[in-house]
Symmetry: C2
Subunit: 101 residues, 2 copies
């Protein structure tokens, strides 16, 4: 299992619309991808236009080859990209350590 | 409950040392702070010198007023700061939505 962290900065004043859009996009589109294991989305307190989308995938390839090359990726982008103030920053991570909870 | 995301970039070649240092620093120092609720640390696949430390706090004040103003904050910095290649980026977030798992 790996973690994708997508760091989004959206246009000021569109937070409520984007709150709904990102939840819909993940639940309706990304969640049906092969190798999708779970997700969290957080919104910024210090930076109210910043959102962190964390998705757990079975592998980097499930994200980059499977989902990114699928027609669903274009559908996902149609839902969220109109809100972006700049290109998202997306990287992959391995879990090193965590508390038991 | 809020999330602190600390984004670290360390010096190349010091990953194994930092793996041990960050785990020790959280377990021995941060975990005893008032309002600390849990943590995860991830290391970069695309960027091997990048680490994400996620800490759940009861409130932003528990982190910024409680922990950051305590002597333990200096002890934590002594453990991790020698590895940094640049100043960490630290922000706070509220959970918007997540899968049930």
């Amino acid at each position: 299992m790996i973690l994708e962290l997508a760091d989004f900065h959206i246009q000021p004043g569109r937070e409520a619309e984007f709150d709904a859009a990102i939840q819909r996009g993940v639940r309706e589109i990304i969640a049906r991808a092969e190798g999708f294991l779970g997700w969290q989305v957080h919104k910024g307190i210090d930076s109210p236009q910043r959102y962190l989308l964390q998705i757990r995938w079975r592998s980097v390839d499930d994200h980059m080859q499977g989902f990114r090359q699928s027609a669903d990726y274009a559908r996902w982008r149609e839902i969220v990209a109109p809100f972006f103030a700049r290109p998202p920053q997306v990287e992959h991570f391995d879990l090193l350590d965590a508390s038991q909870d």
